[in-house]
């Protein structure tokens, strides 16, 4: 019988050797004598924990263009007097454009993007050309939407996620930063950063709120911002950030000393900022990773909305609505995929859809998906009209988390074993739809 040591693979054995060497090193007082113990320990910690943590990208230099006296803001839409579920003409045009893009450009490459854990930059550039990332930029700063565009954002998120939820996350993540600055940025932040989002070469950017811990609550953050003179110094870890290594700009949620949870604008390349890969169950085309903040020193001007709690809470709510829109699109994709499948697939001499057990599963997908959609539309429409939407965004999230996952699961179930293998996209949607109940921040309407 081989001994335990003999049975170990090469990798394990070399790790064992390494540990032995490390132990000797740690026990020697050489490190203390030359005063590098701390640095070595940190390097080791980082090296073993992540394998390959890296600095954030060396981004462009953001310079304040013409600065307005006060921040520009999109106006709330006029209060609407009638009940209506039809998008207006402009929204329909945008929706059709994105639907077409999702069907012809996104869906065909979704499996590959999922496997490679990346979305082709050309595809993201094409998506960006549709104008999807500047919906929250005020007109005065080069935006195209005069009024607030939560409903429009929802329609676009839904249409794009019908192609693929992970690619939708990658494509829409920079827009969340633009929208956040358009809503809660200071005049200086708007003048400095928004022009980059209205030109051709828009930066990758991410709104990092989620943290790696169970029962994460966006109102009780572990990431801290402490005051040091007029500066802020941030420490913490952010989770499931889209393409963090490519980002040139971050908005980070942190508990600001004396203020409560707040948003900070941070340019990539800032000292103390690093990223590490964090591959997940789904959303893989977004190349999710962690953003690590260690003594990240920021000027006072990095704080958004003067740290007002109201602005931060609105950001949490708008993000929830945005994730709902992606879940709605993905569940519609499930429905559209299973219908022809169960009609074509025969068993016991007839299409399986002739059986109520199968057919009722399809009915429930249709019913719950439509309910999710309407709840999401209602929350977004209230946001646009300047009405409180705490309740509506929470209920939409609750629905999308629960029913979205049920639909993801039922989609695989209806295909049986075929649903479990990668020949069909339903297993990917199953993995992606779990995100609807997990993600906070990251996207905005």
């Amino acid at each position: 019988m081989p001994t335990a040591t003999e049975d170990k693979g090469m990798a394990e054995r070399s790790m064992g050797l390494g540990l032995r060497w490390l132990n000797r090193l740690a026990g020697s007082d050489l490190l203390d004598r030359i005063r590098i113990r701390k640095q070595v320990e940190r390097a080791l910690f980082t090296g073993t924990k992540t394998g390959f943590r890296s600095a954030t990208a060396a981004g462009r230099t953001f310079k304040a263009a013409q600065k307005l006296g006060r921040p520009a803001r999109q106006a709330p839409s006029k209060p609407r007097s009638l009940f209506d579920i039809s998008p207006d003409d402009e929204q329909q045009m945008l929706q059709e454009g994105v639907r077409d893009f999702a069907e012809t450009k996104v869906r065909p490459v979704a499996g590959e993007a999922d496997a490679d854990r990346t979305t082709a930059p050309e595809l993201l550039a094409q998506a960006n050309e549709l104008g999807i990332n500047m919906l929250g930029v005020p007109e005065e700063l080069g935006g195209v939407m005069h009024e607030q565009a939560a409903v429009t954002s929802v329609l676009i998120g839904e249409a794009l996620a019908h192609g693929d939820m992970g690619i939708a996350y990658a494509a829409l993540a920079p827009g969340a930063v633009a929208t956040a600055i358009g809503h809660w940025g200071t005049a200086e932040q708007e003048a400095t950063y928004l022009p980059a989002f209205t030109g051709e070469d828009t930066p990758a950017a991410a709104l990092a709120m989620l943290e790696p811990k169970p029962l994460f609550d966006p109102l009780a953050l572990d990431t801290k911002a402490r005051r040091d003179g007029s500066d802020w110094v941030l420490d913490g870890v952010k989770s499931l950030v889209a393409r963090p290594g490519d980002c040139e700009l971050f908005i980070v949620a942190a508990e600001a000393e004396g203020l409560g949870p707040a948003l900070f604008v941070i340019e990539s390349g800032t000292s103390g900022l690093s990223t590490e890969p964090e591959p997940a169950m789904g959303l893989r085309p977004a190349a999710t990773g962690r953003l690590v903040l260690e003594d990240v020193r920021l000027p006072a001007s990095a704080l958004m909305a003067e740290g007002e709690r109201e602005a931060y809470v609105e950001c949490v709510q708008r993000a929830r609505v945005a994730w709902c829109s992606l879940a709605v699109g993905a569940t519609q994709a499930v429905l559209d995929y299973v219908i022809p499948y169960v009609n074509d697939r025969t068993a016991f001499g007839e299409p399986i859809s002739n059986r109520q057990a199968v057919a009722f599963g399809v009915s429930d997908i249709g019913i719950e998906s439509d309910g999710m959609r309407l709840a999401t539309y209602r929350a977004a429409s209230r946001a646009d009209q300047g009405q409180d939407f705490a309740r509506e965004s929470a209920l939409a999230r609750q629905l999308c988390a629960k029913k979205g996952m049920q639909i993801g699961s039922e989609g695989v179930q209806l295909l049986g074993g075929h649903g479990f293998v990668k020949d069909h996209p339903v297993e990917r949607w199953y993995r992606d739809l779990r995100a609807a109940g997990v993600m906070e921040g990251a996207l905005l309407v």
Binding site: D84, Q356, S363
Partner: protein, 403 residues
Amino acid sequence: MINLEIPKKFKPLVSQANQVAQEVFRPISRKYDEAEHSYPKELDMLASLIDGMNEGSDSGAGAAGVRRESNGNGDDGNRNGSNLSTVLGIIELCWGDVGLLLSMPRQGLGNSAIASVASEEQLEQYGGKWAAMAITEPEAGSDSASIRTTADLSGDEYVLNGEKIFVTSGDRADLIVVWATLDRKIGRAAIKSFIVERDNPGLKLDRLEHKLGIRASDTANFTLQNCRVPKEALLGDPEVNTKQGFGGAMQTFDNTRPLVAGMAVGVARASLEETRKRLAEAGVEIDYDVPALGQSAAAARYLEMEADYEAALLLTLQAAWMADNGKPNSLQASMAKAKAGRTCVDVCLGCVELCGSVGYAENDLLEKWARDAKILDIFEGTQQIQLLIVARQLLNKNSSELR
């Protein structure tokens, strides 16, 4: 322009209906739950009031108002009409008491049938009367195409023979809309509805049911024995059109299912509101911004139920809005009915569980609402029938493929 709020112009109606529910229905809710089969006389005055409210306006508070419309009244062709206003009124009234709403004179489902398919002459003749609906038979419930009650043309009259059960307000109404077949061999296409006066000597009341809930509303069983009605009592087209199939008779349901969904939404909201109050007394506050799983189990459960309620409400308003705008809505009407019916039962039973003995005892109305709720997932098409209709539409199947 997407907007899923209650339209401004219906806010007075909603507020009036809510006051009726609060001031008229709630105080007598328990009384008529206990005194099953006694007529809630308090409703007579109220019914007159509602007739007055409906007069000359397109915003009805009862089931009588629904009729398909096609012209727009918004600046973009969007219309909010009687289907939406009626469903909004019903939600409020059922927040008060669903059994009492079902007992409202002149607001029966038979009235909806008449409003949906009656000719101008019939509207004139039967308008202003209280009409019940008789479809179900001892051997045919959900399978309404196989009803056995027959209608034979004899001179200028139809002669009806058969047995009808589960007729809501059957004993109290002035008229009963009876479904019968002109020829059992032909099937669906031969099924027509006939207006029968309650005092017709051929219509014999067999008994009133004792029920789990909606005890304020009486439920009658009848025998039709050589029951003669004039030729003009047939609703809709007297010709047997096999191409059109069941559509004629069934089209009423596209209008009435959202109303019954609205009843379920109203009862569910009553339970949720009462439970929220009770939970607050017990020190549990619902926070919409903190993730549900970070709150107490009771709060998380409440949020889950309220989310289902929200979906049910919006699906119901969607179906009614589509009817107002002349959009085919039989898929959405059944979706709304399925979601609202099952949500109402889940929510009301969940609220009793959350409130413990306070919910279960008769001191409060929570246990009553939980008993009332069950019928809403059964009548006007059971949960299973709604799922069947939804599935056939989504999968593009007929009733012989997906049975």
